[in-house]
């Protein structure tokens, strides 16, 4: 289970100065302060201090094992489910630490939704997949209306409106992933976390997901983990580069991909690591 301690020393990020972009508190929905995650005492990510700006897309990039998915999961307490995981530092959502003892992780995950690498629809109908979160949350309004709105927001409505009662497993991979996005949107989160959402999809389905991300940022804040740097460059406003569990650089995507400030970022994005 998780526990936390707060760090008092100047962070590595603060020492690096302008390689890590700073946002005014009024613009961020989520802020980490010296956040770290340990698995059985071994640090997976450490000393991460960054802000996630509202209605923007932030991409996490870095080599395999750099801790980007671990960091993403820390944003909605998904690491709670991993035995031996421990979180240190703070993850503030509108100023409230997500890891405070009085915070309900289920409520955290309602406000901070997640979409995974592999589409994982429930073996239920398309309709029931989207309605699922509403039902378990005891939603009192019109479920039908919310299902339609969510499917429209996920750019899937026109393709499934005549077969809502059919099994979600009959959809294509790209459609299944958009269904999972619709399912996440149905409970009206503020932040959407996406862990390699298009890595299992073909280029056309990937393109639709990327277009969707661009549309969704009007209403949501999105954090995406991707191995595909071109995808990060296409969809995100800001990019964070992690290496060996540390935040190396975080800045505007346009700038980071054309003129990175840190040598390690340059080496990674030009493929010269190792």
């Amino acid at each position: 289970m998780t526990e936390r301690t707060s760090g008092q020393q100047p962070t590595a990020a603060e020492e690096r100065g302008d390689s890590i972009i700073q946002f005014p508190a009024s613009e961020t929905v989520l802020t980490t302060e010296s956040l770290g995650v340990l698995y059985d005492g071994t640090s997976a990510v450490e000393d991460i201090t960054l802000g996630i700006p509202r209605n923007r897309v932030v991409a996490f990039i870095g080599p395999s094992g750099c801790g980007k998915s671990t960091l993403l999961r820390a944003f909605n307490r998904m690491n709670d489910l991993i035995p031996g995981a421990r979180v240190v530092g703070r993850a503030l959502y509108h100023g409230k630490d997500l890891y405070d003892p009085d915070v309900d992780p289920v409520e955290v995950r309602r406000r901070i939704g997640m979409v995974f690498q592999k589409p994982n629809p429930f073996p239920k109908s398309i309709y029931d997949n989207v309605a699922f979160g509403l039902r378990i949350n005891g939603y009192q309004g019109s479920i039908e209306e919310r299902v339609e709105r969510s499917l429209r927001a996920a750019a899937l409505w026109d393709e499934v409106k005549h077969r809502l009662r059919e099994s979600a497993l009959g959809l294509s991979g790209g459609q299944q992933q958009r269904l999972c996005i619709a399912r996440a949107l149905a409970v009206q989160p503020e932040i959407l976390l996406m862990d390699e959402p298009a890595s299992a999809l073909d280029p056309i389905a990937t393109s639709r997901i990327e277009d969707l991300i661009d549309e969704l940022k009007r209403d949501y804040t999105i954090v995406i983990v991707t191995h595909n740097m071109q995808q990060a460059a296409r969809v995100s406003d800001y990019t964070a580069f992690l290496y060996l569990g540390k935040l190396i650089e975080y800045g505007e995507t346009d700038r980071l991909f054309t003129n990175p400030k840190e040598e390690r970022t340059e080496q990674y994005i030009t493929g010269r690591f190792g």
């Binding site: 991909f257 054309t258 970022t265 340059e266 030009t270 010269r272």
Partner: protein, 230 residues
């Protein structure tokens, strides 16, 4: 294609551009050296040199686009490739200006009543060719300071050009107007070469530093009354 191959191909590409830049520099020097008593064969030799540069330009452009499409490079690699594309285009244009200079000398040579060539013309050639050489050296060496310094000489070429035009307008009262226009045209082409060398310097600065030092669009100049390739 492996990354090693990408690095090798990038090296090959910059080497090709280096060779092309040397050829362009030489062509400009040869065109200006024709002087006011050259024959058509000498002018044709400059045109032939320009054709070879056009061929090289197309090859470099094709290779650059291929590398961009296949590798989608980022950071320094991206800046180098974008700069190669831009310099490649500028060098091709400079080759055209060399031909313009040679053809203007050719037309001048056919005139019996020729004005004296003002010293501004030699000085413009010296400064603009120096700018071209330094901008290309800056590219090869990745020298941002040298690249930035090139642009500082552009004003001097502009002032020399203005002075040249004034002198030639005065000569028009005494000498053949078309002959005087050829001299103005040679000066104008040298002025454009200096502008393009400045562009190359600015592009090299971007390539090295990742930020731009451009000062906005340059005056495109007045349309010419005599034949000139663009």
């Amino acid at each position: 294609m492996s990354h090693r191959t990408f690095a090798e191909r990038l090296d090959e590409l910059t080497e090709q551009l280096h060779t092309m830049s040397h050829d362009v520099e030489t062509l400009v020097g040869r065109a200006f050296a024709l002087g006011e008593s050259c024959d058509e064969a000498a002018v044709q030799a400059i045109r032939d040199g320009d054709h070879a540069i056009d061929e090289a330009e197309m090859q470099i452009e094709e290779s650059t686009i291929e590398l961009l499409a296949l590798h989608q490079p980022m950071a320094t690699d991206l800046r180098v490739l974008v700069t190669v594309l831009k310099i490649n285009n500028d060098l091709e244009r400079i080759g055209d200006h060399a031909v313009n200079i040679a053809e203007a000398f050719g037309r001048l040579s056919r005139r019996h009543q020729r004005p004296p060539l003002p010293p501004e013309l030699d000085e413009m050639a010296r400064v603009s060719r120096g700018m071209l050489r330094d901008s290309l050296d800056a590219f090869v060496a990745g020298d941002a300071e040298l690249a930035r310094e090139v642009g500082r000489r552009d004003d001097r070429v502009d002032r020399l050009h203005e002075s040249l035009v004034r002198v030639m307008l005065t000569h028009m009262q005494e000498y053949n107007i078309s002959a005087c226009l050829q001299v103005i045209l040679i000066g104008r082409n040298l002025e454009r070469i200096a502008d393009l060398a400045t562009n190359i310097g600015e592009d090299v600065f971007y390539m090295v530093q990742g930020r731009t030092i451009r000062h906005g669009s340059r005056d495109a100049g007045e349309s010419e009354v005599v034949e000139e390739r663009s």
